[in-house]
Symmetry: C2
Subunit: 343 residues, 2 copies
C-alpha cells in the first residue's frame, strides 16, 4: 500500500515542486457561510464558542465541506492569549473585541503557566478537526503576532493603534516586556497546537503597518524570530507562516531575519517582491484583494490568473491579502478555488 | 550686489549639494498652533477660511514666524478641487469633510473651465504669502492626489475607502474617467499656483495604501506621471514632490515611473529604500513619525539624528511621515527644527 498523499500545502511549504499552488483563505470559516451563522447563533458568546471543541471543530470543517481548500485553519481567536493570561476579553456585537483593564506584567507573567490548561480546548478542537479531515488536506494552527495582541491589550479594543504606538515610543521597556511575554505565551500555545495535530503554524501580525523601521524590527521581526527559534529548540518542526500585514517595503527585512518558512503578503505586495522572496528559498502566501473577491466578475478571474502567472512557478500558496469579508458571495469563493485547483 | 540666496529647499530639490537638509513639516500650519486656533475662530466655516486670501496667507505664515522652517506651504485643502468642479463640500466640526451627491462626469467636466476663477483666491494667498516671506525660504503649492480626491468624491466622506476601492474594481471605466478629470483639474490648479508664486509643488496622495499593484499603477503612478508631463508641456518647471502615503514596497515603482523630482516617504520607509531613491537621482522627503514628535524625549532626538545620518548625505528634505498631530507640543517642533538646522 502507498503512503497517503502528503498535503499539497506542506509540500509547498517545504519548497517541493507541486503540480499547482495549494489554496486556502484567511477567515474561510466565518460569517460568509450561512451554516456558520447558524452555528454561531447556537454557540452563545464568542469566547465560549472558540473554547467549545465540538462547535469550533465544526466551524473549522464547514468551509472544507463546501470548497476544495487544501488546508483548514483551526477556528479560534487571537485574543485567547490575553484571556488565558488573565485579561478579560469579550466581544460587543457589531463592534469587535473589548478588553478589561490590563493586569500588571507580573500578574500576566504568572498566567504563562496556565496557557496550556486554559487553552486546552483549542488543542481538542485541533485533534477533532484533524481526525475528521482527509489526509490530503492540511490543518493550520495559529497565533496573533505579539505586537498585534499587545495593541489590543494596551488599548482595550481595536482602533488605529495610535495609543499603543505612542507607548512603544514613550515607555519602550514596558512594551518590550509585554511583547516578550507574548512571545513566551505564543511559543507555549503554538507547541501545544502542534502536539495536538496542527501541521503548519501561522503568525497573524495584523497590525504590522505604520511602524518605523526600528520599531518594526523591535516589535515584529525580532519577536517572530524568537518564536521560531524557541519552537525549534523545543523540537517543534512544523513550518511557520509569518504574515506581517501592512509591512510594505519592510517585508524584505522581515523575510530575511524572522526565520519563518513562508511569508504572507498583503494585497499591496508587488510581483517583484514576491519573486525575490521565492528566489531566497521562502514560500509566499497571498495576496488576492478580499474586496475584489467580493466584487467578482471578469476582473477577479483576471487577477487570479495574474497571481498564478506571476508567482505560480515558485513555492506559492494561493490566499487572500486579508480575511474573507462577511458578505462575500459564496459563488465567488467557489469560482476562485476552482480556477486555482483546476477542478 | 549678490543675488539673494536660493532657498535651501529648491537647491535640495535640484540635487545640489547643500550644507544641511532643509526642513518643513506637513500640517505645520494648523491646530498645533494657538495663533492658528485664534485665527480659525474668526474665520467662519473652513472652506471660506481657505478661500479668504488674507486669512489663508496669515495661516500660511504663522509657522514661519515661530519656527526656522525652510519652506511654507500654502494654507488650503485638497477638497477645493471637487468644490470648484461643482460637488458640495463642507466640514462637520470634529468629524472631517462631507461631500454632497457626486454630479455626473459631464457636469464635473464642465467645471474644469471654472477651476482658475473659483480657486483664484488660492493664487492670491500664494502671492501674498510669497511677498511676505524672506527670499531664503521657499513657498510650496499643492494638490491632493487624483485617487485620494476621487475617494472622497466617491464616498462623500473620509473612511476606509473600501467603497471607492470596490468601485475601482467594479466600475473601472467610471473611476478611470473621474481620476483623469482630476488629473486635468490638478494640472490647471497647479499651473495657476506656480504662476502665482509657488516654487515647488506637492501631490498629496494620502490614500495610496491598500491598492494592489495594478490598481496602484493605474490610479496613482500613471496619473501622477500625466500631471508632471502636462505641467512640463505647459512650461511649468517647478519641481514636483509626490507623496504616495502608504505605498509600501510600491514606492520603488512609483519613483521610477511617476516623473516626480522628489518622493515623500511615510513613517514606515526603510533606510535602504530612501538611499536607493537618492542613488537614482531623486530627492526624498520625510519620514519622522508624527506620534514620536508628539511624544518627544530622548527617543525623538535619537530618531532625528538617525534620519539625518541615514539620508542626510543625499538630497533629503527633513519632514514628517504624515501631518503634525493637533496636540503636539510646540517645544517638540522647535526642538526638532533646531536639531536639523543646527541653529
Amino acid at each position: 500500500m502507498n503512503d497517503p498523499p502528503r498535503p499539497l500545502l506542506l509540500s509547498a511549504l517545504a519548497g517541493e515542486t507541486v503540480p499547482r499552488p495549494p489554496v486556502w483563505f484567511m477567515r474561510q470559516a466565518g460569517r460568509s457561510l450561512p451554516e456558520y451563522r447558524a452555528l454561531r447563533e447556537k454557540a452563545g458568546d464568542f469566547i465560549s464558542f472558540c473554547l467549545n471543541p465540538t462547535l469550533a471543530a465544526e466551524a473549522t470543517l464547514q468551509p472544507m465541506r463546501r470548497f476544495a481548500f487544501d488546508a483548514a485553519i483551526v477556528f479560534a481567536d487571537i485574543l485567547l492569549i490575553p484571556l488565558a493570561l488573565g485579561q478579560e476579553v469579550w466581544f460587543e456585537a457589531g463592534e469587535g473585541p473589548r478588553l478589561g483593564p490590563r493586569p500588571e506584567l507580573a500578574t500576566l507573567r504568572a498566567g504563562l503557566a496556565a496557557i496550556e490548561t486554559r487553552l486546552a480546548p483549542v488543542g481538542e478542537t485541533i485533534a477533532a478537526a484533524r481526525a475528521a479531515l482527509e489526509s490530503s488536506r492540511a490543518l493550520i494552527g495559529f497565533v496573533g503576532g505579539p505586537w498585534t495582541v499587545a495593541t489590543y491589550m494596551l488599548e482595550g479594543r481595536g482602533g488605529d493603534r495610535a495609543g499603543a504606538r505612542s507607548l512603544a515610543f514613550a515607555d519602550p521597556e514596558m512594551v518590550d516586556q509585554l511583547v516578550e511575554l507574548l512571545v513566551e505565551a505564543s511559543v507555549i500555545y503554538l507547541a501545544m497546537q502542534a502536539r495536538a495535530g496542527a501541521q503548519a503554524l501561522q503568525i497573524f501580525e495584523s497590525w504590522a503597518e505604520l511602524l518605523p523601521e526600528d520599531l518594526f524590527q523591535r516589535l515584529v521581526t525580532a519577536p517572530h524570530a524568537r518564536i521560531v527559534q524557541r519552537l525549534r529548540a523545543m523540537g517543534v518542526s512544523q513550518p511557520v507562516i509569518g504574515f506581517p500585514r501592512g509591512a510594505g517595503a519592510l517585508v524584505a527585512e522581515y523575510a530575511a531575519s524572522s526565520g519563518v518558512q513562508a511569508v504572507g503578503l498583503d494585497v499591496q505586495a508587488p510581483a517583484s517582491l514576491g519573486r525575490r522572496l521565492q528566489s531566497q528559498g521562502l514560500a509566499i502566501q497571498g495576496a488576492l484583494d478580499p474586496l475584489l473577491l467580493r466584487v467578482g466578475g471578469a476582473g477577479l478571474d483576471r487577477r487570479v490568473d495574474q497571481l498564478l502567472e506571476q508567482w505560480g512557478q515558485g513555492p506559492y500558496i494561493f490566499n487572500l491579502g486579508h480575511g474573507v469579508i462577511p458578505d462575500t458571495p459564496i459563488e465567488h469563493i467557489e469560482r476562485v478555488v476552482r480556477r486555482v485547483t483546476g477542478a
